[in-house]
């Protein structure tokens, strides 16, 4: 135990003396209240601590203690369904302890200590095990099995292991050298959890949102950023993705979020059904909530806490999706703390190490061959397993200006860019993703999946729709000058088809019962309907006046397709396609 005394207090940064032997990033307890903090600077005899709680009332000379270890996330069964703050304090338990408002110095165990879990071993006495090996599992939630893994720097031969009911702290088994095997382990959050190696990503994270699944996909293990000015629908989009994406586990970090919006997540997630299993969505979700008025240092930490939890489930062989809303709030926390330390500022007052911090964070995403042996399906003890963490980070550029440092530094790293557009948001086109500026670098990696799951045609049609939208943009510039009436019929048709693509395909309501989730196959049918109808209209152009083409019932048919029920859309879509291919034939005949 290292013990010293407070020498200076200035906002969330506290300085202390007499802490010989303390290391950067060690966890300390500050003052008589034992406020938690982290060492961020060592300067001669004096150290600087970023305190996770308000420092009002602290005084010079109060004790500072540390056991010389960094902040450790507690990992074990019982994480799913929990809501933590940035330093993994369970918020529901804090409520029971300190009431509606969070009192300082309040602590609660991240994982229930006395809950019994039914442990089923998958290895037997005599097996030799090392870091990452699965030794058994417990049913953590009705749909998710929690695989118990050997922690780092433990290895040996199993001397004893038994099925039964255990708390997380009881030993489920023993190694020959007497080391007890427990279901809980801890991990320093700022250090990425290792994997054997990263592997290429080839499966999309299916989100049920057409703009992503079709135009700008992100694979399982990829990363994407969503920058956009306030009010452009970032939060709603992140939430739709969290609800609908086909990840096994969802970690949602509300970093500097609005209290009432966090409440929306906290209230709605428990009621939402997982579209695939029908079970409550919370069964596969962990929330990290550090609203804007909660202490800034804990906000900075929340990102790391969240990604460590995500990596832990990845290591079991799961596909994890992590949502961080918003990484700008995190970067601002970095800036604020850096300013309090009197560090020389870089661009726009952000610390010079912003770029490397952002890069480090996104690099923790990826698809990996996990450490250790044992695979989830039936747990084959000798095979290796794959898992992934997909990171989707919202960025809130001040004034919607994408040239600011956080957006730019994130752009350098992210594989997909979903650019939100205030103009689209103003006209209530949601999701307000600009199709001309957004991109995904993952299309090639996902080609095989599209071909095998949907069709060869998919990628050609995607290109065709994209071209229509590109041309529309160019055409609009002409229309600005000469007006729409003076365009030729094919050009008019292009504009009207482009509008259909925008309004009836890209636009998708997050609040409509059916629309909220669109299976990729249905999106595929809709694309096919639009391209088929476009071709049909083109063939009719010389044969009937354009005003008649506009009156074809096809336009409306396409706009209705989005509402075809998701469980039975094939039949209706096939029928619609047949009709569309015949549109206008009778009239012109």
């Amino acid at each position: 135990m290292i013990q010293g005394k407070i020498s200076r207090i200035s906002g969330p940064v506290v300085r202390a003396r007499g802490m010989e032997g303390i290391k950067i990033r060690d966890l300390v307890q500050v003052g008589d209240l034992g406020l938690l903090g982290e060492v961020i600077e060592v300067k001669g005899e004096e150290i600087s601590i970023q305190v996770y709680e308000e420092t009002d009332g602290l005084t010079v000379g109060e004790p500072v203690k540390s056991d010389g270890r960094p902040f450790l996330a507690q990992l074990g069964p019982g994480l799913l369904g929990m809501t933590y703050d940035g330093i993994q304090r369970p918020l529901e338990i804090l409520r029971d302890l300190t009431g509606n408002f969070i009192a300082r110095g309040a602590t609660g165990d991240p994982l229930a200590k006395n809950k019994k879990w039914h442990f089923i071993p998958t290895v037997k006495v005599g097996d030799s095990v090392s870091y990452g090996d699965i030794i058994g599992w417990v049913q953590e939630s009705p749909t998710i099995k929690h695989y118990v893994m050997i922690p780092e720097s433990v290895s040996g031969v199993i001397a004893q292991i038994k099925e039964g009911d255990y708390t997380i702290e009881e030993a489920v088994g023993l190694l020959k050298d007497g080391v007890p095997l427990k279901m809980v382990q801890s991990w320093p959050i700022r250090r990425p959890r290792p994997a054997q190696r990263k592997v290429p990503t080839s499966l999309p994270l299916v989100s049920g949102q057409r703009i992503f699944d079709v135009f700008f996909p992100v694979p399982k293990g990829g990363n994407a950023i969503i920058p956009g000015p306030f009010g452009s629908g970032k939060t709603v989009m992140q939430q739709s993705l969290a609800k609908w994406s086909d990840a096994d586990i969802v970690v949602y970090i509300g970093c500097g979020e609005r209290g009432n919006e966090m409440t929306e997540v906290l209230t709605e997630f428990p009621h939402l059904e997982d579209p695939r299993t029908g079970a409550p969505l919370m069964n596969r979700t962990i929330l990290v909530a550090n609203t804007s008025n909660m202490p800034v240092a804990a906000r900075e930490t929340s990102i790391y806490t969240g990604i460590t939890l995500a990596e832990y489930y990845r290591d079991m062989g799961y596909d994890v999706a992590l949502f961080a809303d918003s990484t700008s709030r995190w970067a601002e926390a970095l800036r604020e703390i850096s300013g309090r330390l009197g560090e020389m500022p870089g661009e726009e007052g952000y610390p010079p190490y912003l770029a490397s911090r952002v890069a480090e964070f996104y690099e923790r995403s990826g698809r990996v061959i996990c450490m250790g042996r044992g695979t989830p399906e039936g747990v084959k003890p000798s095979d290796s397993r794959e898992g992934s963490v997909t990171v989707i980070g919202a960025v809130s550029p001040p004034g919607g200006d994408f040239s600011e440092p956080v957006t730019q530094n994130s752009l350098r790293i992210a594989g997909a860019f979903w650019g939100l557009d205030a103009r689209l948001a103003y006209s209530r086109h949601f999701p307000a993703i600009n199709w001309l500026t957004s991109y995904s670098l993952y299309l090639d990696a996902l080609r095989d999946w599209y071909v095998s799951e949907l069709s060869e045609e998919f990628l050609t049609m995607r290109t065709e729709l994209m071209e229509i939208l590109q041309k529309e943009d160019e055409m609009n510039k002409i229309v600005q000058l000469v007006g729409k009436e003076s365009l030729s019929d094919p050009d008019k048709l292009l504009l009207d088809v482009a509008r259909t693509v925008r309004d009836d395909f890209l636009r998708q309501s997050a609040f409509h019962e059916i629309e909220a989730y669109c299976p990729p196959k249905k999106a595929f049918y809709m694309m096919k309907a639009i391209t088929t109808f476009y071709a049909q209209c083109q063939s009719l152009l010389g044969k009937m006046p354009y005003s008649d083409v506009l009156k074809l019932p096809g336009w409306e048919k396409i706009s209705k397709m989005r509402y075809f029920p998701n469980d039975n859309f094939e039949v209706q879509c096939e029928a619609a396609l047949k009709e569309l291919a015949q549109e206008g034939v009778v009239q012109s005949a």
Binding site: S10, A333, Y426, S427, Q480, K484
Partner: protein
């Protein structure tokens, strides 16, 4: 805020700079502690400890450092952080920006005392707001509905009727809520003319008896503005969560607040962020704005309407920008509409209520509300684009459809936005919305479902049919 009798006087001032006083160390001084400073003439000022160290203590003086010297000025440490005494008797009273009575009616005997910084509300204890508030203003009710427990700021450049629009909304809220409502008003750096306006409005609306006013006028000490909103919100939390009342908090003007914060920051020689505002402006503002909402299983609510002047009509100004990232939407006033003589000159496109969807729809407002709002927005946005286009090419090149959209746009501004001071019921607003939509061909109305069109769209000859 009294009592310094028991404390020992310290005369250890080293430097005085702007609103800050730097002292040699004093034992056991706490960070955030409240201090009382008495100068050689016996004039009292209040302050707060901003930094404690082994070498120096930094104090911010709320009334400014005028008249302080090194030698004879005495500093008393009260041993306590800044607190506010609260009681039911505060209703109907006017206080200054530090919480002292300003109306000459004597001290309030406190029932409880609370630290004015407040504590963050545990996110799991928040109740999702879902009761909408009828403001009587079509554009707000229809397009960005205010919800009880929301924080919805009003922005506009200097000279725009920010106060009038705020009070029009407040009046309506007061009328609807009746006895239950408590209005807490915090004026930071406002002129006495503005104050008189608000005072008279509260008086006329009959809300004065259930209001608490905290006032820091333009000629009062700047630094005091750091305290004023926190006093108001501590009061609001007391009435909402101790007494179970619905509380409407009006804060004006947050720009003055942020400028006071900047003043302290620069006196401390902190590294400035955008436009000289401190790097922690976002965190600081959030500790004000986030003090709104509803608690699970409790009566009472805090709805916040902060007013923020938008310098030079610049929506990217740091105070505006950061406000937008914390509050749940914004109501923006437009200079163009104001110049054209429209009232209320609300710029509907960038205005937004993030909690709207929680408060509207079947059984709350009406089933067609969301879709109708989306459609009005979409058509209006299209109309505004077309207006730009006609400015270049004239209306000659326009088709019938475009002309109809333009007509819709004109009527939308003339009738829907420009409603005057007379409140409209939601039904009137919704009906007017449908009436306007009838200007456009049905085929163009892609955001509204058929069932709503059939039920609500007025059937008139010649309109609504296919062009």
């Amino acid at each position: 805020m009294t009592t310094e009798l028991y404390a020992k006087a310290h005369r250890k001032i080293q430097d005085i700079k702007g609103p800050l006083v730097f002292m040699s160390p004093v034992a056991d001084v706490k960070y955030g502690e409240r201090v009382v400073i008495v100068n050689s003439q016996g004039r009292k000022k209040s302050g707060q400890v901003l930094e404690v160290g082994e070498k120096a203590i930094v104090i911010q003086v709320f009334e400014g450092s005028d008249g302080l010297d090194r030698k004879s000025t005495a500093v008393f440490f009260t041993g306590d952080i800044v607190k506010l005494g609260l009681s039911d008797d505060m209703l109907g009273r006017v206080f200054d920006g530090s919480g002292n009575p300003r109306d000459g009616l004597g001290e309030v005997y406190p029932e409880v005392e609370r630290p004015i910084t407040g504590s963050p509300l545990n996110p799991v204890c928040r109740q999702q707001p879902k009761a909408w508030i009828e403001t009587g203003i079509s554009s707000i009710d229809m397009l960005f509905t205010l919800v009880k427990g929301q924080k919805l700021p009003i922005w506009g450049g200097p000279g725009l009727p920010l106060n009038a629009v705020t009070m029009q909304i407040a009046r309506q809220v007061i009328r609807q809520s009746g006895e239950e409502l408590v209005v807490v008003f915090a004026g930071m750096g406002i002129t006495s003319r503005e104050y008189n306006y608000f005072y008279k409005e509260f008086q006329d609306s009959g809300a004065l008896a259930s209001s608490v006013l905290f006032l820091n006028l333009a000629d009062d000490a700047t630094i005091e503005r750091i305290l004023t909103p926190r006093l108001a919100l501590t009061t609001a939390e007391y009435f909402a969560f101790d007494k179970g009342r619905d509380v409407l908090v009006i804060l004006t003007d947050l720009l003055n607040y942020a400028n006071a914060l900047r003043e302290i920051s620069s006196a401390r020689e902190e590294i400035p962020g955008r436009r000289g505002y401190p790097g922690y402006l976002y965190t600081d503002l959030s500790t004000i704005y986030e003090r709104a909402g509803i608690i699970k299983g409790q009566k009472g609510s805090i709805t916040q309407m902060p007013i923020v002047t938008m310098p030079n009509d610049d929506i990217t100004h740091p105070v505006i920008d950061l406000t937008g990232y914390i509050t749940e939407g914004q109501i923006l006033l437009s200079r163009a509409l104001d110049r054209a003589g429209f009232y209320p000159p609300i710029d509907v496109m960038p205005s937004l209520s993030r909690l709207m969807n929680l408060g509207i729809g079947e059984e709350k407002t009406r089933e067609d509300h969301r879709q109708l709002a989306d459609q009005l927005y979409a058509l209006y946005a299209q109309g505004k684009e077309l207006e730009k286009l006609t400015a270049i090419i004239g209306s000659e090149g326009l088709g019938t459809f475009e002309k109809r959209v333009l007509k819709f746009t004109r009527r939308f501004e003339d009738e829907f936005i420009n409603q005057g001071t007379q409140p409209r019921s939601l039904k009137e607003s919704l009906d007017l919305g449908w009436d306007l939509l009838a200007e456009a061909p049905r085929g163009e109305l892609r955001r509204v479902e058929d069932k709503h069109v059939e039920k609500y769209m007025p059937k008139r000859e010649g309109v609504g049919a296919e062009a």
